[in-house]
Amino acid sequence: MDESDRSLMTKIFSSYYSQAELEIVGIEQREFGVGFSRKIESRHLAFAHPSELRNYLMNNTPFFVSHSISYYEHPAATPMEKKIWMGADLVFDLDLHAEGKYGAYPLLDKVKSDLSRLVTDFIKGDFGCKDVMLAFSGNRGYHVHVRDKDFRVLGGEERRELVDYIMGNGLNYRDFFSEGGDKIAKLHGPRPDEGGYRGRFAKLALKAVQDDPSSIHRGLKQEKARDVFVKGIMEGNWSASPVKKNSELIERLAPIAKMLPVASVDTDAGVTQDLSKLIRVPNSIHGDTGLIAKVFDATELERFEPLRDALMPASQEIRVRFLEDVPELPLRGEATGPFKKDEEKRLNLSIASFYVLKGSATIIKR
């Protein structure tokens, strides 16, 4: 990105910030960090009011702006101890790792199912959190901000415990089962109406019995055998299966246990655990993409498409020249590209910004 590209980007960002929704819970207790060419070049900034932040962003226009997940009595004080910690949001970072500059974008949609499980099953379901906000990260993932007051006081280690739970670290589904009770070795196991991993395991097993019974045992292909097995599981009795030995049944259920945690995406342990962490300001622009770290409601998750919904609002068009080959992407709800190196194209300003900031295009000067 050359100087003139950069100065145009700055103007676009500044104009976006003049209108942007910048409400931040506890803004006066947050530390801010900004960067012009990388994420954080200076930190320990503080803003008493959203309008102060807006003015700063309009006039100084950093390419990256983050705020602390923590609340402090003196957010601008240094060193850290002098800030006086008052608590912190619980923040989860779902980040996608993929090959190539544009490799992650087609996969963003897949992360949504993990995000949905993380929020519905784990954060709201198992943890019982209520104040949950979702935001696009502005590039390759999503952030979940949890602000329930009784979770704010948790320390780093205690947060690590939550991350481990979500990732299923130390989870052994064999511990769900126990033998005994009656004369015949009865296998006690989880019921579908139980909470946490136990309940989910039972539900997944029931689903497998219905959808693909032979994945557990050939004998379950018979409807009658299936019904007996299912009826047992509903009451936490796993003995009523065509599998002779309890231990063998448990081993045959191993593939179900693998589906339990949110494993395909790193719920970044560092972010959740590190209380001095700064996280991208919701609704601010990610300087590597020009995409907005857009806030959306959990109920909108299914419909939210970052490459359509997180572009800056813009109606003007501008000509760019591509500096490298770029694959096709669905930007602003339309198939865009592919583009070849040296190709010149008139594009919507927000789309042009995306390619310029990615280092794939440059603006053609008149």
Partner: protein
Amino acid sequence: MDDKELDFAVKYPFTDEARKAIAGITLTESIADRGVERIKRALEGDMRASVSLRGSDKEESIASFAASRMILGFLRNPFLTSRFAVNEAKIAHGWLDRADEKEVDAVARIFGIATTPEKGLMLITLPVYLRFSPRSVDYRITNRRLIRGMVEITYHEKKRLVEEAVRKHVERIPLVKDPPELIKQAGEKLLDSLPKTQAGSGKLPSGAKVEDHPPCVERLMESMRKHENLPHQARYFLATYLMAIGMNDDDIVQLFSDAPDFKEKITRYQVTQIRKRAYSVPSCATTLTYGLCVAVCRIGSPLNWHTLGKERKSLIKQQMAGSMERVD
């Protein structure tokens, strides 16, 4: 204050009731001396306690706890403070074991530990559970019934949570900058009476360089130096690892002397047992389930750290540092 209330205050000297019981009492040399004794008992791991004291003796016993805290606030030695907190918490647990449910609840309530009964067990809110459960495998939420922010625990576990809450509470000792002369003297007396090794040398045994351990071990050694109370699995892991890299028993015991509940005899016995039975160093997968893994080394066993080249090592550490800096 009636006898029952006074007994409650003697048993749980960290409560408001205790503060009230000694409100009118002035510090005497005898109280300060008992404060010193109380800390020394903690160093010996002496958890015995009794309320079979009479009248003013009870008040002096409560006051001795306050005196201990002032001495510790003046000395600002994290090792002493930590040992004291562990011991006082264990004493309190001893009382809880002998108490009825009403009394347990009264102490639990101080720390916001409230439970609701559920089919012979109890439910507690997740944040409170996380704050006060010991960091050990048995208490990991992965292995617990967890539903809508409530964790299932037993009555026994509830008391263990209260113990942990007491420990954390007692450990937070306000700084005492300019204490009464009696406290200063008591503090000096206490330091003089300590064998030199017991105060925790903070030095690493020869043969072990901090720079050259895998990140998980470095983290544990750092915690140890800060006199943090490491869970059993962490200590076991550390001991097997140090043995494997060739450290002798004396040096290992010395290293563990920084632990807040250090008892040389017990530590030495455990270290000897580990060596005798040739227990192996837990794999990376196991350290992960213990919650001790802190980096992405991809080496399978912490011992393989020593087979890595310099560049790879620094890359792993950079990535660790990087993950702290990343915002995306």
